[in-house]
C-alpha cells in the first residue's frame, strides 16, 4: 500500500478550481487578505457596525423601543441651540485638556522618580498602580465621600488642624465641582501614564546618559536632549490613550455629581447617556456621542502622524 500511495496520488488530477485556489494563495497579496479576513470581520461586526449604527441613530428621531425616522442633521441642528449641550462641550474640553496635562506632568515626574534606585522599588511600583486597578465606580464613590459637603475627610482634617473653620464645598459651586472632578480623574489616571512612561524610560540605554555626561550635559540637558526625545514615541501613544479615556469619561462624573450642579460637570458622555437612556431619546443621545467623534479623531490623527515622523520621534524639529 505504501508503495502504491504516491502513484495513486499522482493518478488523481487536481481539479481546475482547486488549482486556481492554490495559485491564488501563492499570491502574497491574496494570502494576506485571506489571513486578515477573520480579524477584519471581527472589527467590522463589533466595531464598524456599532459605529455606523451610532451615526445612523444620530440622524433619526429614534426613541428607546421605537426605530424612529430619518431626520438628517435635525438632531445636530437642535443641539446647536441647546445651551446644555454647549456647556457639556466646554466642560469636556476643559476636563480633557487640564486633566491630561496634569496627568502627563505628574505621571512623567513619578516615572522619573520610580526610575531611580529606590528601596522596595517593586512594592512602590505596585502601590502606584493601585488607583488604576481599583474599579472606577469604587474610586468614584470614595471621592463622593471625600468631597461630601458634610462628611469630607479633607475638610475634617483641615478643621482639626485649625487650617479652616468650615467644611469646603467641593461640589457645591460650578467651578469647585469642575476642579474637584478633574482632581479625581487625575488621581485615577496618573498610574497609567507613570507606569507606561517608566517602561519607556527603562528602554533608554544608560550609555546615552554616560556619553551626555562626558560631553558636559547637566541633569536638565540630559532630560531635554536624551530622555525626552527617546521617550517621545511612548509619550505620543500614552497621551493619545489618556486623552481618549479622559474625553470619554463617564463613570467618575456619573457617580460623583450626575453632571450637576447646574450641569457644571456635565460631559458629552454623561449628557449622551442622560438623553439616550434616562430620557429615552436615542437619536439625540447618539448625535451627542457622534459629536465627540471629530475630537477623538483629531487626537488619534495627532498620534498617528506623530508616530510616523521619524525625525519628530528622534526629537528634531521638522
Amino acid at each position: 500500500m505504501a508503495a502504491n500511495a504516491p502513484a495513486y496520488r499522482a493518478a488523481r488530477p487536481i481539479p481546475a478550481r482547486r488549482r486556481l485556489a492554490f495559485r491564488l494563495l501563492d499570491d502574497r497579496n491574496v494570502l494576506g487578505l485571506v489571513l486578515i479576513l477573520p480579524a477584519a470581520s471581527f472589527l467590522l461586526v463589533f466595531l464598524a457596525y456599532p459605529l455606523g449604527l451610532g451615526f445612523w441613530l444620530g440622524m433619526t428621531d429614534a426613541k428607546i423601543g421605537e426605530p424612529g425616522r430619518f431626520i438628517g442633521f435635525g438632531n445636530f441642528l437642535s443641539l446647536a441651540h441647546d445651551e446644555v449641550f454647549w456647556l457639556s462641550v466646554f466642560n469636556t474640553l476643559l476636563y480633557t485638556v487640564v486633566a491630561s496635562a496634569l496627568k502627563f506632568a505628574l505621571g512623567l515626574y513619578l516615572a522619573l522618580l520610580l526610575n531611580r534606585r529606590l528601596p522596595l522599588k517593586s512594592l512602590v511600583r505596585a502601590v502606584v498602580l493601585l488607583p488604576f486597578v481599583t474599579p472606577t465606580v469604587l474610586s468614584a464613590i470614595a471621592f463622593w465621600w471625600i468631597y461630601d459637603p458634610q462628611f469630607s475627610i479633607i475638610s475634617w482634617s483641615l478643621i482639626k488642624l485649625g487650617v479652616i473653620h468650615q467644611y469646603i464645598d467641593f461640589l457645591g459651586s460650578p467651578w469647585n465641582a469642575r476642579w474637584s472632578v478633574i482632581a479625581a480623574n487625575v488621581w485615577r489616571g496618573i498610574p497609567f501614564v507613570a507606569i507606561t512612561l517608566l517602561a519607556g524610560l527603562q528602554t533608554i540605554s544608560p550609555s546615552l546618559y554616560e556619553a551626555a555626561t562626558l560631553d558636559g550635559a547637566g541633569p536638565w540637558q540630559r532630560f531635554r536632549f536624551v530622555t525626552l526625545p527617546m521617550l517621545s514615541p511612548i509619550i505620543a501613544v500614552v497621551m493619545t490613550f489618556s486623552v481618549l479615556l479622559t474625553f470619554t469619561d463617564f463613570q467618575l462624573i456619573y457617580a460623583i455629581t450626575r453632571g450637576g450642579p447646574i450641569n457644571a460637570t456635565q460631559l458629552m458622555a454623561t449628557l449622551s447617556y442622560q438623553r439616550a437612556i434616562t430620557e429615552g431619546r436615542l437619536g439625540e443621545g447618539a448625535a451627542i456621542a457622534d459629536a465627540m467623534v471629530p475630537f477623538l479623531l483629531a487626537a488619534i490623527l495627532f498620534s498617528y502622524f506623530g508616530l510616523q515622523r521619524r525625525r519628530w520621534q528622534q526629537g528634531s524639529r521638522d
Binding site: G65, E83, V84, Y147, D148, L171, T257, I262
Partner: protein, 437 residues
C-alpha cells in the same frame, strides 16, 4: 390545589371589601365578572427590584396564592427601576417580553397603543375601593381608556426634628408656604438648618422643586402642552425658593438622593424631604443616637402655597400589560387579584407602609395608624400632581424631568447664577426642545 374555585375567591374578595369599606352596602353590588383565565395560561411579570425584602416576599406570596387558586403560572423577575424603563420600551416595540410590568411614572404613556386595555379592571377596582385619587387616574387613563393600574407611590414627606421645630418657635409643622419659610429661618437660627437637594437627585430634588413651582401656580406646560414655565408664577416660586435656600445647610447644590439621609441621620439637618427610609433606619438601628433621632423626628405633608391646594410631586408606581400577551384574561385576573384588599393589606403590612395607596379604601390598614409618624405617607397620593402637570404624560414630560430642567432652574435662581426671570426664560427654551417635537 386547595380546592378553592375562582368563584369562591371572588366571593371572598367581595365580602372582604364589603366589610372593610365605609358605605360598604352601597358598594356591595360591585362584582368582578371578567372572563376566567385561559386554560394553561402562563404569564411573566417584571417588577422593580425590592428595597424591602419583606415587601418583595409578600408580593411573591400573593402571586403564589393567585397561581394556586387559578392554576395560572406566574414568573416574577425583578430589576432596578433604571433598567425597567428601557426594557419596557423595547418590549413594547418588538412585541415580545414580559406580559406585565410593574414600573414607574409616565412610562406607559410612551407607548399607549401597545398596551392592554385594563379599563374593566380599573373601573371595577375604582368602584369597589372608593374611587381612584385624581393623580392615580391621570397615570392610568389615556384617551378615555385605562392603560395602566397605579399601584401606589413611594411617597416623600417632610422629615423634621420635633425639638428643633419647637426651638424655632413652632408647636406644629406649618401648613402653608409662608409659615414654612419662617420655620426654615427659625431652624437655621436654632443651629440645625434644613437641607433640600439641589443637585441632580432624581427623587429628592425634583420632589421639592416641582412642589415649590406648582405651589406658586407655575407649571412646565399648560393643559394643551404649550410651554408655560416662563411666567410670573414661576418667578414668584423662584423668589420664594431663593429665600428658602438662604436657610439651607451648605452644599445642597451637590446633593444626590442619599445625601440628605446621611445629613439627617448625622444630626446635621433638622428638616428635609424624604421617604420613610430615614425614620426606618433610625428606628431599627441599635445605635442609641439614631434611636434618639427616631424618637425626636416626625413627618408632615408638604405645605400649601398661594394656589391654595396641595401640590406634591411623588414617585408613582404604575403597572401595565402589553397587548401582545397571549393570555389577556389571565393578566387582567392577576392584576385584579393583586389589587384586591386582602392581598394589598398583607403586602402593605409586610412592607411597613412603604407604598402609599392609590385608592382610599386601602387606607384603613393599621400599618398607617399604629405608628402615627407613618400616617402622613398614607395620604401623599391624595395630595399629589402628575409629573407632566398640567399637560399630558409621555416622552416630553419624562424628558423634562430626566433632563433636570426644573431642578436646574431652581439651582440657578437660588444660587444667584441667574436672576429668577432669566432662569425661568432659559428653562422655557429647554422645555420647548422637548414639547416642540
Amino acid at each position: 390545589m386547595l380546592g378553592i374555585t375562582r368563584r369562591r375567591v371572588l366571593q371572598s374578595g367581595g365580602a372582604a371589601g364589603l366589610l372593610l369599606l365605609p358605605g360598604g352596602a352601597a358598594r356591595a353590588a360591585t362584582a368582578w365578572n371578567g372572563p376566567a383565565p385561559e386554560a394553561g395560561a402562563s404569564i411573566r411579570v417584571l417588577r422593580w427590584k425590592q428595597f424591602i425584602q419583606a415587601e418583595f416576599d409578600a408580593f411573591v406570596a400573593n402571586t403564589k396564592k393567585f397561581s394556586e387558586q387559578t392554576g395560572v403560572k406566574v414568573r416574577v423577575d425583578a430589576e432596578s427601576w433604571d433598567d425597567i424603563r428601557p426594557k419596557s420600551a423595547v418590549a413594547a416595540n418588538v412585541g415580545a417580553g414580559p406580559d406585565i410590568i410593574f414600573g414607574t411614572l409616565d412610562d406607559p404613556f410612551k407607548f399607549p397603543e401597545k398596551l392592554l386595555d385594563v379599563t374593566d379592571v380599573a373601573e371595577y377596582l375604582g368602584d369597589k375601593y372608593g374611587g381612584w385619587y385624581p393623580v392615580a387616574r391621570k397615570y392610568g387613563v389615556h384617551d378615555k381608556r385605562w392603560i395602566a393600574l397605579p399601584h401606589g407611590a413611594t411617597g416623600g414627606c417632610m422629615n423634621y426634628r420635633i425639638s428643633t421645630m419647637h426651638a424655632a418657635g413652632f408647636d406644629e409643622f406649618p401648613k402653608d408656604t409662608a409659615g414654612f419659610l419662617k420655620l426654615c429661618q427659625g431652624l437655621k437660627k436654632a443651629g440645625k438648618p434644613p437641607g433640600f437637594a439641589l443637585g441632580h437627585a432624581t427623587g429628592d430634588a425634583n420632589g421639592w422643586c416641582q412642589w415649590c413651582l406648582w405651589a406658586f401656580g407655575g407649571k412646565t406646560v399648560d393643559d394643551n402642552n404649550n410651554v408655560a414655565i416662563d411666567s410670573p408664577e414661576t418667578v414668584a416660586a423662584l423668589e420664594y425658593a431663593k429665600q428658602l435656600y438662604q436657610t439651607y445647610i451648605d452644599g445642597v447644590l451637590s446633593w444626590l438622593d442619599p445625601s440628605n439621609n446621611k445629613a439627617f441621620l448625622a444630626d446635621q439637618i433638622s428638616l428635609t424631604l424624604n421617604g420613610i427610609s430615614i425614620y426606618t433606619v433610625a428606628k431599627n438601628s441599635p445605635d442609641p443616637a439614631l434611636k434618639a433621632i427616631a424618637g425626636d423626628m416626625d413627618h408632615a405633608n408638604m405645605p400649601i402655597g398661594p394656589v391654595g391646594r396641595p401640590t406634591e410631586q411623588q414617585n408613582i408606581l404604575s403597572t401595565y400589560a402589553y397587548a401582545y400577551t397571549k393570555y389577556p384574561n389571565a393578566v387582567r385576573e392577576y392584576l385584579r387579584f393583586m389589587w384586591e384588599k386582602p392581598q394589598v393589606d398583607y403586602w402593605e403590612t409586610q412592607s411597613n407602609g412603604y407604598i402609599a395607596p392609590p385608592l382610599p379604601a386601602w387606607n384603613d390598614n393599621p400599618v398607617w395608624t399604629v405608628d402615627p409618624k407613618v400616617t402622613p405617607f398614607r395620604d401623599v397620593l391624595k395630595l399629589a400632581l402628575d409629573d407632566g402637570y398640567s399637560g399630558s404624560l409621555g416622552y416630553a414630560s419624562a424628558a423634562v424631568m430626566g433632563d433636570f430642567v426644573v431642578v436646574d432652574m431652581f439651582a440657578e435662581a437660588c444660587t444667584g447664577n441667574k436672576s429668577p426671570k432669566d432662569a425661568a426664560h432659559d428653562a422655557a427654551e429647554r422645555v420647548k426642545r422637548y414639547y416642540s417635537v
